[in-house]
């Protein structure tokens, strides 16, 4: 009661006291007005205003008020004394140095970079926007140290692989947890054509305000059992108090493959294959064999005289394009802020038949009901329509057409696709079949905050995420391998996720520079998935393409599954004298994914920070402007092993339309999450007033209880067994350097470099550290995860052209008998070094920004090599290198003698393994901001014209299509470093216009 009375008297006295009106303008140091800066009376946060488009403000304060607080995002908050006179105030805000005061989202709260004791990277709109890629993940490639972002290959819908600080798991998921505006979102691949798709394609990069990446254990531990691979926090755009801002962005561009492999032309093909046939069958029979094949391949054209010379690269690829339009309206006042946005993306892929169209809309509204309660809602909806092509391991995937002979015409004289090719002509599939994926997505959240006192508040967030993906395939009667008068497949995968988080925050400023914050809460997450599919054959004609017209329904599936998480979490941060920072957090997670006796896990973390530059001995140092030392240690979990991995499962099957059951998965009641413990030691510094600043981190991550599909001997009756086995150590260094090279007058030049090293090493495996070998990859103690394990190829025997292999590894005795050669560790599918380099140069309104990315240490195994680079083993077209085949005694070459059907050198070996080091100009943008004098005249807030490019330059010695292309077919892929007829990335150049009203 006392408090209330006091408040009442305070209000009375306020009324009674004289008010005075203060006016002024807020500018940046260059004198440009700042729109939307907040101006508050010090000590009374309920009395404030914001600046208008001219930076002007007006505020009434009690006469006794001495100080105003002026703040603006990205600028240092200023306390200014109220002048005695009535002259308007002129306030200049300084851009905050080192972005030290920028707000970082850390999960159930935020903090500033200055006070941070963890390793978190923040990327803002300038890193994300105006880059011509259709998924948001690719925009930030190369911009965060130790974060590797790759699109599997150059299909518009290609899966995205993000590895934060390398791979910390072997067979559980390695993707980070994505959290959108505070709620973990569905990131499950629902593609049914064998090639994974990026489920977050549904999110337009234009909706995103910032992305915070939690890299170390201490930051990610608040996400407990799901944080082991790091956490990507996405914050969508919000309205800011101030005038209404309308922003329009239009861009359009063209794209092409980054690189093409050259294949034999018709005359080279004839020469090589005739020679190969003669080598295998003798002069006469060989010629006959080769010519018989050429007769067939040429499909009646005059191959003897070179009538046809098809370049299948030109048939498989085309010029792609990308267009974006996005429009948003945002603004608000001190009570209500809103953001409405809509975006349209149309991408025509570089592969024939691969297109994407996305429409998305977002509305974020927040309202302050009174001094205690605020509430709001975020809602994003989108629809993405993708025309898909087959997975890399399908004959009808466009890029498999490079296996076709150059003697084969792609089209008949009448323009229809030629059906008589060596392999099915994908053009038939392109023309007579379709595979369309529709992805509908709603991500919504309602939230409320109740402030019991200024120090104590309660947040309740209820999020809902719905992903509805349907796939419709129709294959007409003219498609390859068609024997059932048409074929249709429809599927529907619906996933719904709801999350309810409730948490209290208590923040106490003990004194001016001592404070502590405590967060405690609970979260419940329920995720349901419903899947249905139906397959039909026997259609009346190609005019009927829906399942209802199918005379025979040949397959149907219906399945639902669910997982739940129940979690409790707490975090306490302590700031002593703005110099010493301590943070501790704990989370207890329970998940339905694990056996009943292994259901709960506790994930604690602690971190410390010391802001050395605030100590008296450094405070006035002219060289060192900022210095912080921090360290963290914590435990995380990885629960990405599927919903029922621990159970013994028998599935229903059908034999002659009679039902049966089959043991599909042997159970393991002791299965639980992988636990990883991570230590991070970091130093952050700024030199010469932060002209040069940076961060150096060392980390070490130990994962134990690796979730593993242990290969079993087939003689046991099963081939894999889910088990928590083995330990993995992953360590590395991350270095970030930011330099303001030049900042004089209108000219600015800054450089940002990040460099990260990651070495992972398996430290123990089950069955007394027995090797686990899967295909060409091995998991062996002391070696990196999924290292390549291959026989070393030794080139051609100069005496007879036989393929030679090293018996016991590189440099040992050679043999032409493959079975005598032993396998050795031959490479690592993951890079050990990754780097990014960003430069920003500007002069007046002209700015040039570009980012290079680089990767070193990874190798790629070309699974198609046995067909493409086989010295004419079979009639697949060969790469030009095969022309260097051994021909006569004494020839020194790596290409053995051409022998048709001879399997001379086609066994799996390092012949098909290559280093995939590269440096790539990931993106570049040249922009011009129209001067204010012009924009004012045409009544625009601002206008910018830009040209931007993606992947325009690549420096590599890799000779395949692209060092960033991996196979997307199941069983191959990203983590084992396979390439299999995988499309190169797109290289895009676009122009755009960005205006604000």
């Amino acid at each position: 009661m006392k408090v209330r009375l006091l408040l009442f008297f305070a209000m009375l006295s306020t009324l009674a006291l004289a008010q005075r009106r203060i006016t002024g303008t807020v500018n940046d140091v260059q004198g440009s007005p700042l729109l939307g800066a907040s101006v508050f009376e010090k000590g009374n946060t309920s009395n404030g205003t914001i600046t208008d488009i001219n930076g002007a403000f007006e505020i009434n304060v009690p006469a006794k008020t001495k100080t105003l607080i002026v703040s603006y995002t990205g600028f240092t908050t200023l306390e200014v004394d109220v002048p005695a006179g009535s002259l308007p105030m002129l306030i200049a805000l300084q851009e905050s140095s080192l972005v030290l005061d920028e707000l970082l989202v850390i999960g159930y709260g935020s903090t500033s970079k200055r006070n941070l004791t963890d390793n978190v990277v923040k990327l803002g709109t300038k890193d994300i926007s105006n880059i011509a890629v259709s998924n948001f993940q690719s925009t930030i490639s190369g911009k965060a140290a130790g974060v590797r972002i790759n699109q599997t290959n150059g299909k518009v819908d290609g899966g995205i692989n993000i590895r934060i600080r390398g791979t910390s798991s072997i067979s559980a998921g390695s993707e980070p947890l994505y959290v959108l505006d505070g709620m973990p979102v569905i990131n499950v691949n629902e593609s049914n054509n064998g090639a994974p798709m990026n489920p977050l394609l549904s999110l337009s990069p234009s909706e995103i305000e910032s992305i915070d990446i939690l890299k170390d254990a201490s930051s990610a531990a608040i996400y407990g059992a799901r944080g082991a691979n790091g956490v990507v926090l996405i914050t969508t755009k919000k309205g800011k108090a101030g005038n209404t801002n309308v922003s329009l962005n239009i861009s359009t561009g063209v794209s092409s493959p980054t690189h093409l492999v050259e294949w034999l032309n018709a005359s080279e093909y004839k020469e090589l294959f005739t020679e190969a046939a003669i080598n295998s069958f003798g002069e006469e029979d060989g010629k006959a064999e080769a010519e018989g094949a050429f007769d067939f391949l040429s499909n009646g054209t005059d191959w003897q005289n070179g009538a046809v010379d098809t370049d299948w690269n030109k048939i498989a690829f085309r010029d792609g394009s990308q267009s974006d339009i996005d429009l948003s309206v945002s603004g608000g006042d001190l009570k209500t802020q809103y953001y409405f946005g809509g975006a349209l993306n149309k991408t025509k892929g570089i592969l024939v038949g691969n297109d994407l169209k996305r429409m998305s809309a977002r509305m974020n509204v927040k309202h302050q009901l009174n001094s205690k309660v605020s509430a709001g809602m975020n809602l994003g909806i989108s629809k993405t329509i993708i025309d898909r092509v087959d997975n890399d391991n399908s004959f009808t995937s466009p890029l498999q057409s490079i296996a076709q002979s150059p003697l084969s015409p792609a089209y008949n004289d009448d323009g229809s696709p030629n059906a008589n090719t060596l392999y099915a002509n994908f053009l038939l599939e392109d023309l007579y079949a379709s595979y369309t994926t529709n992805l509908r997505r709603i991500t919504g959240k309602i939230f409320a905050e109740y402030n019991f006192t200024e120090k104590f508040k309660f947040n309740s967030d209820l999020g809902y995420d719905m992903s509805d993906q349907t796939e419709d395939q129709y294959r007409g009667t003219q498609t390859p391998f068609m024997s059932t008068n048409g074929y249709a497949y429809n599927s529907s995968a619906k996933s719904e996720n709801y999350i309810w988080s409730n948490y209290f925050t208590y923040k106490n400023d003990i004194s001016d520079n001592n404070n502590f914050t405590v967060v405690a809460g609970q979260e419940f997450n329920n995720s349901d998935r419903l899947f249905n599919s139906v397959t039909g054959t026997q259609f009346p004609s190609d005019n009927f393409t829906t399942i209802s017209s199918a005379a025979e329904i040949t397959a149907g599936k219906g399945d639902n599954s669910r997982y739940n998480f129940l979690s409790y979490f707490g975090r306490a941060t302590l700031n002593l004298r703005d110099k010493y920072f301590v943070k501790a957090s704990i989370r207890r997670d329970g998940s339905s994914r694990f056996g009943s006796n292994q259901r709960y896990g506790i994930f604690p973390a602690v971190s410390l920070g010391w802001l050395v530059s605030e100590e008296s001995f450094l405070k006035d140092n002219s060289t060192i402007s900022f210095l912080k030392i921090r360290g963290s240690y914590g435990q995380l979990g990885n629960s990405e092993i599927g919903n029922f991995a621990s159970r013994t499962l028998y599935n229903g099957v059908s034999y002659n339309k009679i039902s049966g059951i089959v043991l599909t998965q042997p159970g393991n009641n002791d299965l639980t999450w992988e636990k990883s413990r991570q230590l991070d030691l970091g130093i952050e510094f700024g030199i010469l007033k932060d002209r040069l600043s940076g961060e150096i981190d060392f980390y070490k991550k130990d994962t134990d209880g690796l979730l593993f599909k242990v290969p079993l001997p087939g003689s046991s009756g099963q081939t894999v067994f889910n088990k928590n086995i083995g330990t993995l150590e992953s360590k590395g260094i991350e270095i970030v350097l930011n330099s303001k090279n030049l900042s004089s007058g209108y000219t600015r030049w800054s450089t940002s470099v990040n460099l990260a090293n990651n070495n992972n090493k398996i430290t123990s495996l089950p069955n007394n550290n027995a090797d686990i070998i899967v295909g060409e990859n091995i998991n062996q103690v002391g070696q990196a995860v999924s290292s390549f394990y291959l026989v070393e190829f030794a080139g051609a025997d100069p005496a007879n052209g036989d393929a030679l292999y090293y018996k016991d590894g590189l440099g040992s005795e050679t043999t032409n008998d493959y079975s005598e050669a032993n396998r050795f560790i031959a490479g690592n599918p993951q890079p050990t070094w990754i780097a990014g380099l960003t430069n920003e140069v500007s002069y007046k309104g002209i700015a040039l920004t570009f980012t290079f990315v680089g990767e070193w240490g990874a190798s790629i195994y070309n699974g198609g090599g046995v067909y493409q680079s086989s010295n004419a083993d079979f009639f697949d077209n060969q790469d030009k290198e095969q022309l260097n085949r051994w021909q006569k005694a004494g020839d020194i070459t790596n290409v053995p003698q051409a022998r048709l059907y001879g399997q001379n050198g086609t066994a799996q070996s390092t012949r098909y393994l290559q280093k995939a080091d590269f440096i790539r100009l990931r993106n570049i943008m040249l922009s011009y901001d129209l001067p204010q004098s012009i924009t004012n005249k045409i009544k625009l807030g601002s206008a910018r014209l830009y040209i931007s490019g993606v992947n325009l330059l690549t420096f590599t010695s890799y000779t395949g299509y692209d060092p960033e292309a991996r196979a997307d077919a199941s069983g191959y892929g990203f983590d084992n470093g396979w390439n299999f007829y995988s499309a190169p990335q797109a290289k895009t150049t676009s122009v755009g216009l960005n205006v604000n009203f």
Partner: protein, 439 residues
């Protein structure tokens, strides 16, 4: 102050107590306790065993394909892109051949699930029901072990015998190879028991005559001609099968035909027919003719009127494709009466007996059906040629070659090149496994 307390109370209420929600059961699958505890489910497990048995990598086709590619020299060409089957045709196989790995794994998978059935026969209260289930499981296990041992075994070194199902896959799974003799003893025992347990008639599932047919085939391969002859004779005389009216009628059947003793069932909704994939044109559901017939095969026919000689069609590349496999969803024949007649004929000649029928009559019955001139007399060699004509592309080539000690592509019948390698995956995961010579 009260409102604050109330709000706090409401806020605390929002913390739900929902630990029971972490109990989530799968809906697609059932657990051990359910699957192995009722007679209904153990019977379903047996049907599931047939399903695995019909897998493409097994009796759905690859077993037959590997046998023929390995046994043929120039009867067929391999036109497909897959290098794995081509390795069999060129007799140059690698231990990492993924098809060989799948064949091995699938054969053992059937052994394992048959064992699971045999280990849980106690659930049956009804003895008759139990006998049939046991008989079928033993038949399937014997059939799979027979192919394991003749494909992967040498004259002395067999394959590991698993008499019971593995239940703890987290335990020790290392296992040694048994001797070939031990494996055959195990097979013979299973077959004998299956014959005594199985009924005369069992629909599309294995019956007594399927087990007898297997007994005939196994004993022929082992050179136990009297046993082979008697089993074949029992099938012919009591099995109730008759030859289909024409040769063409014996193939591409949606349901078991007159001469089919046992087939793997394929429908448009279940089962796999890999023979179609490899032998048929795209129009017929195949890959366009990965395996095509050469003139050398046509040359083995002694009568141009022989229907079997012309039992092919051309694909767009003008390759000759066998007409034995043109129905995409046709059943896969495993035991045909024709084989039994040929076994009886051969063993009667070898033993100089006339059990059941004269060898000449058995051989001519097949020739006449295909419109080939009957032979005046018949020798052992004639029967062996007749086997090639009648049973081509049905998976007999390498075994007939081995048991008659013939050579192929200059390789003697006992060349290590004609024995499949133990798959590398097995070698890698099973330290006790011993690799075959030459791999």
């Amino acid at each position: 102050m009260k409102t604050r307390n109330l709000s706090l109370y409401i806020a605390l209420l929002m913390f739900c107590s929902c630990e029971s929600r972490l109990d989530v059961e799968p809906t697609l699958s059932i657990s051990d306790e359910v699957a192995l505890k009722s007679p209904e489910n153990v019977k379903k497990l047996l049907i599931g065993t047939y399903e695995i048995n019909g897998d493409a990598y097994s009796y759905g086709g690859y077993l037959q394909i590997f046998s023929d590619l390995l046994g043929y020299d120039n009867y067929v060409s391999w036109n497909g892109t897959f290098s794995e089957p081509r390795e069999a045709l060129t007799k140059n196989m690698f231990s990492n051949n993924s098809l060989i790995q799948e064949i091995w794994n699938n054969l053992f998978k059937v052994v394992s699930q048959s064992n699971l059935v045999l280990d849980h026969l106690d659930v049956f209260a009804d003895d008759a029901e139990r006998s049939v289930v046991e008989g079928e499981a033993r038949f399937l296990r014997a059939m799979n072990y027979f192919d394991l041992v003749r494909m992967f075994g040498t004259e002395v070194n067999g394959v590991p015998i698993r008499q019971t199902a593995v239940t703890d896959f987290g335990g020790i799974l290392e296992i040694k190879r048994n001797s070939t003799a031990e494996v055959y003893a195990f097979i013979q025992d299973d077959i004998a028991k299956a014959i005594s347990l199985l009924p005369e008639e069992n629909g599309e599932f294995a019956d007594k005559y399927a087990a007898l047919a297997l007994q005939a085939r196994v004993n022929l391969y082992l050179g136990k001609y009297a046993e082979a002859r008697d089993a074949a004779n029992a099938v012919i005389e009591q099995g109730g099968n008759v030859l289909s009216p024409s040769f063409a009628d014996a193939f591409n059947l949606d349901v078991d035909g007159a001469e089919d003793i046992f087939m793997m069932q394929v429908t448009s909704q279940s089962g796999e027919n890999q023979l179609i994939q490899m032998y048929a044109s795209e129009e017929n559901g195949g890959r366009g003719g990965d395996i095509s017939i050469n003139q050398e095969f046509l040359d083995i026919f002694d009568d141009d009127n022989d229907e079997r000689k012309h039992f092919y069609y051309e694909n767009p590349a003008a390759n000759l494709l066998s007409s034995k496999y043109t129905n995409q969803f046709g059943n896969v024949p495993i035991f045909r009466l024709a084989e039994m007649l040929l076994i009886r004929a051969e063993t009667n000649i070898r033993l100089n007996t006339f059990i059941g029928s004269a060898p000449l009559d058995d051989v001519n019955a097949l020739r006449q059906r295909s419109n080939a001139a009957p032979l005046p007399t018949v020798t052992l060699e004639d029967v062996l040629w007749e086997r090639q004509r009648e049973l081509a592309f049905e998976g007999f080539a390498i075994y007939d070659l081995k048991r008659t000690q013939s050579s192929v592509q200059g390789l003697p019948y006992n060349s290590p090149k004609l024995v499949l390698p133990i798959p590398r995956s097995e070698m890698d995961a099973n330290p006790l496994m011993e690799q075959n010579e030459g791999y």
